[in-house]
Amino acid sequence: MPQLELDGLTRRYGSLTALDQLSFSVRPGHVTGFLGPNGAGKTTTMRAVFGLTALDAGTIRWDGAPVRPPQRRRFGYLPEERGLYPGMRIGEQVEYFGRLHGMSPAAAAAGARAWLGRLGLGDRAADKVETLSQGNQQRVQLAVALVYDPDLLILDEPLSGLDPAGIDAMSEVLTEQARAGKCVLLSSHQLDLVENLCQSVVIIDHGRLVASGNVDDLTTRGRRRLVVRVAGDRDGDWARALPGVTLSEVDAGAVRLVLEATADSQRVLGAAMAAGPVTEFTVRRRSLSEVFREEVAGPTRPARAEARA
């Protein structure tokens, strides 16, 4: 299966550099999470794939060759904001986008029926979009992106605004698409969800690539982490003075510690026992949100100006 390669994407808005020599690729068979703080350039990048953002430099390749408009018929796009005709019936809407992507009338009608049924909207095909809830509109938007069975799916914040059932349905569909060999790229701020759903992640900041790779590799790499629980202790003060140990967060008595290479975990255990009875002492991987925070905040940077194109 072909893959999507982004090579040296650069986009400036006046003095602001939205994308700065950004390069990464999206592999088939994986759900790839696209992470970054607000204004990092995620939406700009995703829109660039569809030719919606003009680039100052860089190439977007599909299957090894620069993307040309006809190939975009095989790409599916779920934009950050709802992009549907409010007054149009949802069945006809999904069908219409199928036809625009080159489907025959019969295939588009069948595809629309199948996807709306699959997403639990089978009985609402004759309803207008504006009568649906936000979450259901999001499902219609997903059906619009999937009806023509695209090879590449690009989803900008697909999980926002969905209830837990909606998130499960969306995750199931995206995982299934990836298993079928499609390229799936989605942006999100819900890092715990991304950690469960995605096999790969790309993290950008200030329009530059910060980290990318398998979720497993990124979370096992780096400094050791401990989660320690001491009965009666709420704030983890006992750990603050230990050499080579940083307290990363305290959550309802569970103290999360980051250990430098020089630090001794046995000394940490000793200090914890001195503070009270130890009820939990676990070696943990980094969570994706820790990866994100450390990679993005790592080299100290000046506060950014909020800007999104």
């Binding site: 660039a48 620069p66 040309r68 219409y96 625009l100």
Partner: protein, 447 residues
């Protein structure tokens, strides 16, 4: 048949122009789109499978959706009903007011010589009516028949003409025209007789009709012409304003609902715009065509002389200019719709854009009501923004010839091509910029 002959040059010119524009459009449409930023390299041979070839059908799909949604929409239904109601009223009211054009009963008191009878019948033909002569026993009997509506005009002893209503009340009516003409005929016959001419001379004079006056518009009453001009002008003004607003709001809706982002991910901006303009244009045609068909059938059914026979050319001219006007303005309004982001920003743009139409309407209206087109109307008839209003008015008044009509159509089409180019550029640059209103200078700047 002669009607058809007169129309033929227009039909040929319009068909030829339409063909040229279509060819041009197709050529510019198939030009590869400037791809945003992604550096374009020629595709490797064989790298593009058949299913990835660009489908020219997307313009049609966009247009078909537009047409379907419009025809289904409430705005269309109510608007159409409103137009039809206005047209029906404009035709039926004068007809019901007692003007039975078509057949005019003429009561004759006393004797009427054979040449005079023939002359009166000919007067009726000139007024678009078939005259039936009815013998009346006395003037009293004739007057009672006039009041009862059994006859329309009475000729008393070859010397006087009597009607029920004063002829000045509605000089455009067939009855009034017939009465005036008959009065003249009778007076002439009497004058000839008292001049003491030989019967042969008298007959020659009585048989003399006016020399043929040829004009673009077949012989007819100027009053009826003015009415047709007015109806056509109102139709163009009303429909043009409505469709312009549709285009503007339609583009704005796509922009503000962000659906345009999903559309542009597959359909190039120019084709999306072309599909939209085409779709609404087809709606225009459906609605205007419906209006004309209804107008003609009502006119036919009620024997109204407002739209009768002679004015087919006017109707055709009105329709042609409605389409030409829509083609010209739709691009402008689509570009304007792309420049605004919210409904409340529309007002600041819609009014200045509507000014040329309003100006053309007011100037043409004064020409249509006075029946006397000024030089200004003649000038406006050649400017693409005002021609859709001024030119059909002139045609309705019989004040232009076919080559002037054609010249104006050519100028308008050329203007449309130019406007479409600029508008497509503005649309492409502005449609994805949300938030504030896009300034004209930014929209026109080269990217």
């Amino acid at each position: 048949m002669s009607e058809l002959g007169r129309l033929l040059p227009y039909v040929i010119i319009i068909a030829a122009l339409g063909f040229v524009v279509l060819r041009r459009h197709r050529r510019s449409g198939s030009r590869p789109r400037l791809d945003s930023g992604a550096l374009i390299r020629p595709p490797e041979p064989g790298a593009t499978p058949m299913r990835l070839l660009p489908l020219p059908g997307d313009v049609g799909l966009v247009a078909a959706r537009e047409l379907r949604e419009r025809l289904r929409g409430r705005a269309f239904r109510i608007g159409t009903l409103l137009i039809l109601a206005v047209i029906a009223a404009a035709i039926i009211i004068p007809a019901v007011r007692g003007d039975r054009a078509g057949v005019q009963q003429v009561g004759v008191v006393g004797t009427l010589s054979a040449p005079l009878r023939a002359a009166v019948v000919a007067d009726g033909t000139a007024a678009n009516a078939t005259v039936t002569l009815v013998a009346e026993a006395s003037q009293t009997a004739a007057e009672s028949d006039l009041r009862g509506g059994r006859i329309d005009v009475a000729i008393i002893n070859s010397a006087a003409v009597v009607t029920d209503k004063p002829v000045t009340a509605d000089p455009a009516s067939a009855t009034a025209q017939l009465a005036n003409a008959a009065a003249r005929t009778v007076a002439t016959a009497n004058a000839v007789r008292s001049a003491g001419l030989t019967p042969a001379q008298a007959a020659a004079l009585a048989a003399a009709r006016s020399a043929p006056v040829s004009s673009l518009q077949p012989a007819g009453a100027s009053g009826a012409q003015r009415t047709t001009s007015l109806i056509g002008l109102l139709l163009v003004f009303f429909l043009l304003t409505q469709y312009n607003t549709w285009t503007l709001i339609g583009v704005l809706e796509e922009k503000s609902s962000r659906v345009v982002e999903v559309l542009l991910a597959t359909v190039p901006a120019v084709r999306l715009l072309a599909g939209k303009v085409l779709g609404i244009g087809l709606t225009v045609f459906v609605q205007a065509g419906l209006a004309v068909v209804v107008a003609l059938s009502i006119a036919h059914a009620t024997h109204s002389d407002v739209l009768h026979g002679t004015t087919t050319l006017s109707i055709a001219a009105t329709l042609v200019w409605l389409v030409l006007g829509y083609a010209f303005y739709s691009w402008v309004y689509a570009a304007a719709g792309a420049m605004v982001s919210r409904q409340d920003q529309v007002q600041s743009l819609a009014f200045p854009l509507a000014l040329p139409v309003i100006f053309g309407y007011i100037v043409s209206l004064s020409a249509a009501t006075s029946g006397n087109p000024s030089l200004l109307v003649h000038v406006l008839a050649y400017l693409p923004p005002t021609a859709p209003l001024a030119m059909p008015t002139l045609v309705g008044l019989g004040a232009v010839s076919w080559w002037q009509f054609a010249a104006s159509a050519v100028i308008s089409l050329a203007g449309t091509v130019g406007v479409a180019r600029v508008a497509a550029g503005v649309y492409r640059r502005a449609i994805l910029q949300t938030g504030r209103r896009v300034r004209l200078r930014e929209a026109l700047a080269r990217n």
